[in-house]
């Protein structure tokens, strides 16, 4: 089997040599450096923790080489549906690292943190304008926490009106976090069907709407990449029964400057700043998941809220009806700086161009793929498209195999097997930052794989063969979990 490069095998522990140092610390400049002089002996650890003993050179080379085992947006096209893997501007990184932001303590008195507070206040105002909501809390640490905050606010709203509603409706095409967040907020989840076109089934919605329903939670555009065209009817039906309507904002990249959740009748929506607003994914986080609400939910926002009075900014924690706190401090501020820098860089016309080009790129990819792969929906899509590998499956090649083959051809894989309602789903989100040349190369690769599935499926079934490892045994990992390194682990180092 050809290997493109000699794989790098080590873990940091396997580079360790007794007595080797990677740090530089000053001599103690105060008396009594021995902790035994200050603390009872029984509190002190006799043996130092078993961290590796490596030099700075070891560390730099090790993590540089580890990084080379990854695909990132900076190195590869990343058409991962629902994740909006767009380019993350470098200037945003410089801004977030300014000492005045990066080295600011969260409990600095408000008077000495006016720049940070002003940035937060302006960002909340901008997100409110972009979404058509009345108020925005920047506190949630990620989309799932924004969802939890949103559903808890809806719960507090109903309880304040003396209503104990028990259910939340969620379409079968929803992200897994929707039902999970809803369950933590104490609600039973009722799953609704999608209709044949892929939109919310209105009849099923009407059947399930009653006075026991607290909220309807939908993604707009939905996870099939379709704008829910009957959205006004949906929000009106819900409101008629006192049901609050929540928008999962994961797909906000499709609608900047084109339409606003607040104008569509949504009561709550969250934003994924690590998707639409270019903060990097970092291999899984951190993100930021601000949540916007209409005025009637304002009393319930997470505390504290940034307020402005006569040009002075402050954290207002005196909010008796608040759902409380979601994380210890005020939000993932470092991510907020990046999103703020992005919005200021783009301006209103630039943001609209983002969504227009995201929609253009997705439709271009869909058009180019539809000869080889079955479309999951009809008509134009928004910022992402879903195709099915049903045809390839009959040839013995699954969506998973196609994903692995794409890795060999230098592309990260689309999202696979999601949304759950599409058989052998491949969910592709090209984003606006990619050029036609990149999209063409990707579509050529997809066409090549479809041809391989027809004529020589082995190449697809054996993929990947050019990466540091071949397909990995997931079942073994789960059956016999090995979650930490031990010197005796089989296969461990020299």
């Amino acid at each position: 089997m050809p290997a493109a490069r000699a794989p790098y095998e080590r873990l940091i522990f396997e580079l360790s040599a007794p007595g080797r140092l990677g740090h530089s610390l000053p001599a103690c400049d105060v008396p009594d450096p021995d902790p035994a002089a200050h603390l009872p002996k029984e509190l002190l650890r006799a043996d130092p923790p078993g961290l590796p003993e490596v030099s700075e050179v070891d560390v730099v080379r090790h993590y540089s080489r580890l990084s080379q085992l990854n695909y990132g947006v900076d190195t590869n096209f990343y058409p991962l549906g629902s994740c909006t893997m767009k380019y993350n501007p470098k200037i945003n990184e410089d801004m977030a690292r300014l000492a005045g932001f990066a080295r600011l303590h969260p409990l600095t008195p408000d008077d000495a943190a006016q720049g940070a507070l002003r940035l937060m206040w302006e960002l909340a105002r901008d997100l409110a304008e972009i979404s058509g909501m009345d108020h925005v809390s920047l506190q949630p640490a990620a989309g799932a926490q924004g969802e939890l905050a949103g559903v808890l606010m809806i719960r507090a709203y109903h309880l304040a009106r003396g209503e104990r509603r028990k259910k939340v409706l969620i379409p079968d095409s929803a992200h897994g976090t929707n039902p999970a967040s809803t369950a933590i907020a104490g609600y039973a989840v009722v799953q609704l069907r999608s209709d044949e076109s892929g939109e919310v089934d209105l009849a099923d919605l009407e059947r399930n709407l009653d006075e026991d329903v607290a909220a309807f939670m939908i993604t707009q555009p939905n996870t099939l990449g379709l704008f829910e065209s009957r959205i006004h009817q949906i929000t009106e039906l819900c409101h008629a029964k006192g049901v609050q309507v929540y928008m999962d904002g994961a797909n906000f990249n499709a609608i900047l400057g084109l339409t606003r959740p607040g104008d569509l009748g949504f009561d709550v929506c969250h934003f994924n700043l690590h998707k639409t607003f270019t903060t990097p994914h970092g291999g899984g986080g951190p993100g930021a998941g601000p949540v916007g609400v209409k005025a009637h939910l304002y009393p319930f926002l997470p505390a504290p809220v940034v307020v402005e009075r006569d040009g002075r900014y402050a954290l207002d924690g005196k909010r008796p009806q608040s759902i409380g706190k979601l994380q210890a401090f005020w939000g993932n501020f470092g991510m907020l700086v990046r999103a703020y820098a992005y919005i200021r860089t783009m301006g209103p016309d630039g943001l609209r161009a983002v969504s227009e080009n995201a929609v253009l790129n997705a439709n271009y990819v869909l058009r180019r793929l539809e000869g080889d792969y079955e479309r999951a929906t009809q008509g134009p899509c928004m910022h992402e498209c879903v195709v099915s590998a049903r045809r390839q499956k009959r040839q013995g090649v699954s969506a998973m195999d196609i994903a692995k083959r794409l890795l060999d051809l230098g592309f990260y894989a689309p999202t696979t097997y999601f949304p759950l309602i599409v058989e052998e789903a491949l969910m592709i989100e090209p984003t606006e930052t990619e050029s036609k040349e990149t999209l063409d190369a990707f579509c050529d690769a997809m066409a090549r794989i479809a041809e391989e599935a027809r004529s020589s499926p082995a190449a697809v079934l054996e993929a990947p063969v050019t990466l540091p490892v071949r397909r990995l045994d997931q079942a073994l990992a789960a059956r016999r979990p090995r979650l930490t390194w031990t010197p005796t682990a089989p296969g461990a180092g020299p």
Binding site: H23, F101, A141, G143, P380, P468
Partner: protein, 447 residues
């Protein structure tokens, strides 16, 4: 627009392939009355150099730890960050990668998380650690929910020595599942063990103590473990990982779950976020843990490789039956911590801890000798301690900012009982000169 790659000519060409006359033709599903018929009301686009000027101005309006000697703590600390940390995490292959759902193209991230899990397990003395949660507060909340699910019991007894903001987060998360948080009072700065014993019953899912606690004091964790286990409850310990180079790890004192704020391990304070939620547990609890876990396995050719594992706990598989709703975590902060721990190594984390202990005790002696000022609690402490002041602490903090000293965190906003107190943190970065200047300025401020 430099972040959009297609030229006008390419856009026309692509529309031609699609068979659309314009981008508007692609937006037909959006009903006309849903369209925003005007430009967004936002400030106009800024060129890069203007943006830099604007943001540098906002940054300058903040008193950062570059401008002042930072003695503030309470969950966010001015520890040193070794230079390679920022260089390495800024590599695009780490920085711009997604969650490692395609393991063959994500071995770098997966391996670094596996190293992180190993280091955290080692530091805390626990069997397993997850790939991270958002912060110390949400980590405590998840621990409370996990104890609730593991024991089927409704009440969590939380010491008043646990960070008040963490307790608030746990209350928010406990609201839906109907989890009751019951506060256990403090004696002299540490949990009143007699009162704790009375508060615990067969309805108690877990006992939570913090070590060192919010006021800086070191709790008797083993005694809390004995009380919790005596009632069939779990013991949750909130830690500061920076202390675990010198302190006995909670895993050896009877902890079942260890959570904490890992920000001190190489993550910038960044006005309170992103942080690093540390979460570790005993092996028996692993299938109830929240968040991602990386495990070792082999590939088709028998080579070692790493994958996300035990995913049937997680929301993308189990949906409303998942152990937690968390998806995005703080992987990059965990990478910062991994690199920082690798650089500090076996010797360094202990050295940092020793410097913290020595400097904090020097500072406590100097500040406590200022007339009218006293050390509030007699209990042993690590790097943080509580002072009682003869003047309103908020005013003292304001006054000392003029001397370029961020004196600490006034406790009035956290606990009325300690409204005359100031919480002071002393990391390895503080110098004797800064501490002496602090003592002198404090003397002037309270005179």
């Amino acid at each position: 627009m430099r972040y959009i790659s297609n030229t006008k000519a390419q856009q026309r060409e692509m529309l031609g392939v699609i068979g659309a006359g314009s981008i508007e033709d692609l937006l037909v599903r959006i009903p006309p009355k849903a369209r925003l018929g005007r430009p967004l009301d936002l400030p106009p686009a800024m060129a890069e150099m203007d943006l830099v000027r604007h943001l540098a101005g906002l940054a300058r309006a903040n008193a950062s730890a570059d401008d002042v000697a930072c003695f503030a703590g309470a969950g966010s600390y001015d520890h040193a960050v070794p230079s390679p940390v920022n260089h390495l995490i800024s590599r695009g292959e780490f920085f711009t990668a997604y969650t490692p759902y395609q393991p063959e193209a994500s071995q770098g991230t997966l391996r670094s998380i596996f190293e992180y899990q190993t280091m955290i397990a080692e530091l805390t003395g626990m069997d397993v650690a997850n790939a991270s949660l958002y912060d110390g507060g949400s980590a405590l909340a998840e621990a409370a929910l996990m104890a609730h699910a593991a024991t089927g019991r409704e009440t969590v007894v939380v010491s008043r020595g646990v960070h008040p903001l963490y307790r608030q987060v746990a209350e928010t998360y406990g609201e839906g599942p109907g989890l009751r948080l019951r506060a256990a009072p403090l004696g002299e700065g540490v949990t009143d063990l007699g009162a704790l014993r009375k508060a615990v019953s067969t309805a108690t899912a877990a006992v939570v103590v913090q070590y060192p606690n919010f006021f800086g004091c070191l709790e008797d964790v083993a005694a809390a473990a004995e009380i919790a286990h005596g009632a069939g409850a779990l013991l949750v310990v909130v830690v500061d990982p920076m202390s675990l180079g010198v302190l006995v790890p909670p895993g050896r004192l009877g902890a079942d779950i260890v959570v904490g704020e890992g920000q001190g391990l190489g993550v910038p304070m960044s006005y309170g976020g992103p942080n690093l939620g540390v979460f570790a547990a005993r092996q028996e609890l692993v299938r109830r843990m929240p968040g991602r876990l990386v495990g070792e396995t082999v590939d088709l050719e028998g080579r070692r490789g790493f994958v996300l594992t035990l995913q049937t706990r997680e929301q993308h598989i189990r949906r409303e039956k998942a152990t937690s709703n968390i998806c995005t975590n703080v992987a990059l902060c965990a990478l910062m911590a991994t690199i920082a721990m690798a650089l500090l190594g076996r010797q360094g984390l202990r050295r940092v801890g020793e410097l913290c202990v020595a400097k904090a005790h020097y500072a406590a002696a100097r500040l406590g000798a200022v007339p009218g000022v006293r050390l509030r609690f007699p209990a042993p402490f690590f790097k943080e301690f509580t002072l009682q002041l003869p003047r309103a602490p908020e005013r003292v903090v304001k006054r000392l900012l003029r001397d370029r000293i961020l004196a600490g965190v006034p406790l009035k906003g956290f606990d009325r009982a300690y409204r005359d107190c100031l919480l002071v943190a002393v990391t390895e970065k503080r110098t004797r000169e800064e501490i002496d200047a602090f003592a002198a300025a404090l003397g002037r401020a309270v005179a």
